[in-house]
């Protein structure tokens, strides 16, 4: 035995699990993040999985990754690069090594670095470590063999045993960070409640991985702890963006006292919203998996007409198909929440990757004058509030609302303080007052809000027709009168423009910044981290991150024009910058644009913003 290990306390650490897409890296990552969160660390996760369900085993295209950023204090992103890289096979090492910091510790399963594995990963020599010029510490362990040895007496077949390899790696990482395995045990016993033998095998292998590290010190001189320095007391859970979005809809329906209806069609990366809501029938949630994207949205319009809180969930290609029914909801002035979990485009594009390229589509992608509120979620946990607000806005202002999230926030997760519904604002749809009985027409508006009144079918004395054809604002009859159409277009636009939204908050050096960073949606964590880093380096930088994109906050122009330099940073070729230039006279920002399908890298942001500061 070597010298006792030194235990170092860390502020934060990034761990990346990677392996073949069938190797269970997402599960290992999820368990590690749950353990960390349970002991009070802040977490931010990012699964990076391939588009293929099962690419050829061991191939470069079949590598699946899961990155977790754990902090003693607050963490805002899953981290640019990792401190620990787990590579379960040669292909994983080849493709994922670029995510390893120069100081990283790399864990590999030597049993999956045989000649055939190296060939599949296109290594030219039999020494991949040298071939890639890897200088970091490498824990090279015969994981597969040790897993088989550990499970030899269980009677499991070879294939079943090897499915537990991920747990060995997890055990090893838990040892490295002095994690309590009992949390993992509970997790596995719950997950495999119906297959206790599988749960116990996995638990045995985690311990084997942990003990391997403990007994051999695994070629490393330190283990680490990350002591929480927390923060807001309360109950917490780990939640992904898609789940938070689903929860936001459920919460809003309960608050509004309405049935929740989701019409949807499976599409990556939005399908988990459909999955999640489909589970919760005990809350009265109705989900219909429709025949296509069109019907998903169209049936939601029907459900809204019938008096439900109606929503439809999709990604960009689905929005193309839903635009027609979204526009119907615009002219019929029915409440509808349209969730767009953005992915790489155009067309099918990059189904599993993240972009912010649907912004202009959400704002303008319909025929006619078609005003539509747009809200963008800033982080996985923020999806809850964003979804709740989208529902409130749709119901109270009788309009379809687009909620933009993206693959990054949808699949990523964070520690979420459980909300109390009583703390959330009431939702009061503008139901037609009883005195309109007998005289109700659908497009008469509340003069103060510009919102029409809602009369739900089944109510006596309020019968009316809604339609895709333009209507007379007073009588509700079909009208092609030029003055009436002009008036109706303006009234619909005005209704949306008058929706009250909170001011955009300026963070960082809000009084004396030399540079204001402007962003929206899922890039919040990266932009915030970049701002913090620049300010730590002595610069004066502020951040204005937008959640309400239409209507924009009332203080938008004031904020954008206050600072000497402004940069709009977004994962597209400048859509938000273009929109802001359209809305704010004389606004000419710097731009930082990337369309790589990957999250921003904080260090790249810092470099780019420093360059702008120097100009």
């Amino acid at each position: 035995m070597s010298e006792p290990l030194v235990v170092k306390d860390l502020e934060q650490v990034v761990v990346r699990f990677s392996g073949d897409s069938g190797d269970g890296m997402q599960l290992a990552g999820n368990i590690f993040s749950t353990i960390s969160a349970t002991v009070g660390n802040d977490i931010s996760t990012f699964p990076d999985y391939p588009a293929d369900i099962r690419a050829p085993q061991g191939s470069l295209t079949g590598v699946s990754g899961f990155q977790i950023h754990i902090g003693a204090g607050k963490v805002f992103t899953p981290g640019d690069q990792c401190d620990v890289l787990v590579a379960m096979n040669a292909a994983a090492l080849k493709t994922q090594y670029k995510f390893a910091k120069p100081t990283a510790c790399i864990i590999i399963d030597t049993d999956c670095f045989k000649k055939t594995d190296l060939d599949k990963a296109a290594f030219k020599t039999d020494d991949p470590i040298a071939e890639m010029g890897i200088k970091q510490d490498v824990i090279a362990a015969p994981i597969s063999q040790m897993v088989k040895d550990c499970l030899a007496d269980t009677g499991m077949d070879n294939k079943a045993m090897l499915k537990c390899r991920n747990m060995f790696a997890l055990g090893l990482v838990c040892w490295l960070f002095n994690r309590d395995l009992s949390i993992a045990e509970n997790y596995l016993r719950t997950k495999f409640a119906k297959k206790p033998a599988i749960a116990e095998a996995n638990i045995r292998v985690i311990h084997a991985g942990y003990d391997y590290g403990h007994n051999t010190h695994a070629s490393t001189s330190h283990t680490y702890t990350i002591e929480s320095k927390v923060k807001v007391p309360g109950k917490y859970m780990d939640i992904s963006g898609n789940k938070a979005t689903a929860y936001g809809l459920i919460a809003a329906a309960e608050k509004a006292g309405l049935k929740l209806y989701l019409g949807s069609y499976p599409i990556t990366p939005a399908t988990d919203i459909l999955h999640e809501l489909s589970k919760h029938k005990s809350l009265g949630v109705t989900t219909v998996q429709c025949e296509d994207e069109i019907a998903g949205c169209a049936s939601a319009v029907g459900a809204a007409f019938a008096g439900a809180l109606a929503a439809t969930s999709t990604s960009g290609p689905g929005i193309c198909l839903k635009s027609e029914a979204m526009n119907l909801a615009v002219i019929q002035e029915l409440p509808l929440v349209v969730i767009d979990v953005q992915r790489g485009g155009p067309s099918t594009g990059l189904p599993t990757k993240s972009e912010q390229t649907d912004l202009l589509q959400a704002l303008f992608g319909r025929n006619g004058e078609s005003p539509m509120p747009v809200i963008a979620a800033a982080s996985p946990t923020d999806c809850f509030d964003a979804a709740y607000n989208a529902c409130k806005m749709a119901l109270e202002h009788m309009t379809p609302v687009v909620l933009l999230t993206d693959a990054f926030v949808a699949n990523g997760s964070g520690a979420w303080r459980l909300p109390k519904l009583e703390d959330y604002p009431a939702i009061n749809p503008p139901y037609a007052p009883e005195e309109q009985k007998g005289s109700y027409t659908p497009y008469r508006r509340n003069p103060e809000t510009g919102v029409r009144y809602w009369a739900v079918p089944g109510r006596e004395g309020f019968m009316h027709i809604l339609g895709g054809l333009e209507k007379d604002g007073d009588t509700g009859a079909i009208s092609t009168d030029p003055e009436n159409h002009d008036r109706m277009c303006r009234e619909r636009a005005d209704k949306v423009a008058r929706i009250p939204v909170p001011d955009v908050e300026v963070q960082g050096c809000k009084d004396d910044a030399e540079l204001l960073i402007v962003g929206f949606g899922g890039t919040y964590g990266h932009l915030y981290s970049a701002m913090e880093e620049l300010n730590r380096a002595g610069h004066k930088v502020a951040l204005a991150h937008f959640r309400n994109l239409n209507p924009l906050p009332a203080n938008t122009a004031e904020v954008l024009c206050k600072y000497p330099k402004v940069v709009v940073a977004e994962q597209n070729l400048g859509q938000f910058a273009a929109f802001l230039r359209m809305k704010v006279d004389g606004f000419v920002p710097y731009q930082f644009n990337q369309v790589k399908g990957q999250p921003f890298v904080v260090s790249e942001l810092v470099n780019a913003f420093e360059d702008i500061l120097k100009k």
């Binding site: 929860y247 459920i250 809350l283 809204a304 079909i478």
Partner: protein, 333 residues
Amino acid sequence: MSFTAQDFKKGQPRWCPGCGDHFFLASLHKAMAEIGIAPHDTAVISGIGCSSRLPYYMNTYAMQTIHGRAAAISTGAKVANPNLTVWQISGDGDGLAIGGNHFIHAIRRNVDINMILLNNRIYGLTKGQYSPTSPRGFVSKSSPYGTVEDPFRPAELCFGARGRFFARAVATDGPATVEILKAAAAHKGASVCEILQNCVIFNDGTHESVYNKEGRAKNAIYLRHGQPMLFGENNEFGLVQDGFGLKVVKLGENGVTIDDILVHDAHQEDNTLQLKLALMEGPDYPIALGVIRDVEAPTYETAVAEQIEEIKGVKKYHNFEELLLTNDIWEVK
């Protein structure tokens, strides 16, 4: 409560004089009065096209929507509010071309909506293009040399989608139309009513053989459950089974008696014979009218609601706060 046709009427229809839509609208008003469901518990939902203007003439809750989507929109309305009686109005272009997918899936799911297919075999509102029910070789503005494609036969599409109710009437035949509309309303599940109707401007005479009473007496057969399949001006003809097919026979000829004539069974699960009846065409066969198929099956919106009730009994969380507690939770003090 009892209602009259007047209770369901609204406005002055603006279809061309002589259009089949006028006849159908009158039958629908009459049928709704006889069905007796209050106007405010009724929703009439259409897509786009001449016939899809119909909801504007209904004193009920109504929606005239977008091209082809009425079946999908009706599905959402019915599932969200099963207490509503939903009538979905489409033409042959709206329902079977742009809306074909929604048409078959609403039928397959068996949503309890009354799906009316007003079939004039032409696009009228866009001024005269061939539709998916126009016969091969049909000359129209968009097929000046005749179409080179075969039409859908709506019954075949309905049966192919596992349809449990299919009926047919001629728009000008008021009493028979009212009869099938009442049967459609009584049927729990998706019920398809094909209404044969004329377009006086762009496809005049398309259903000429059955459009008036005399024509129907010769060229149509009224099918009634439990009744022998007789037709002709004096009920002198009948249908018998002939191998895998049907054959028209004359009573009294070749020793044929009433006992040889098939008796209609609209409630038969096996749709083979019903399909053959629905596909009969002149001049060798009469065109089948009336309720051709009417088989009960679980309806979609009821099954959705029942599953929700069942799961409410099984699961231990019933509000948002309880939902939160089903997760792995840790506490920071």
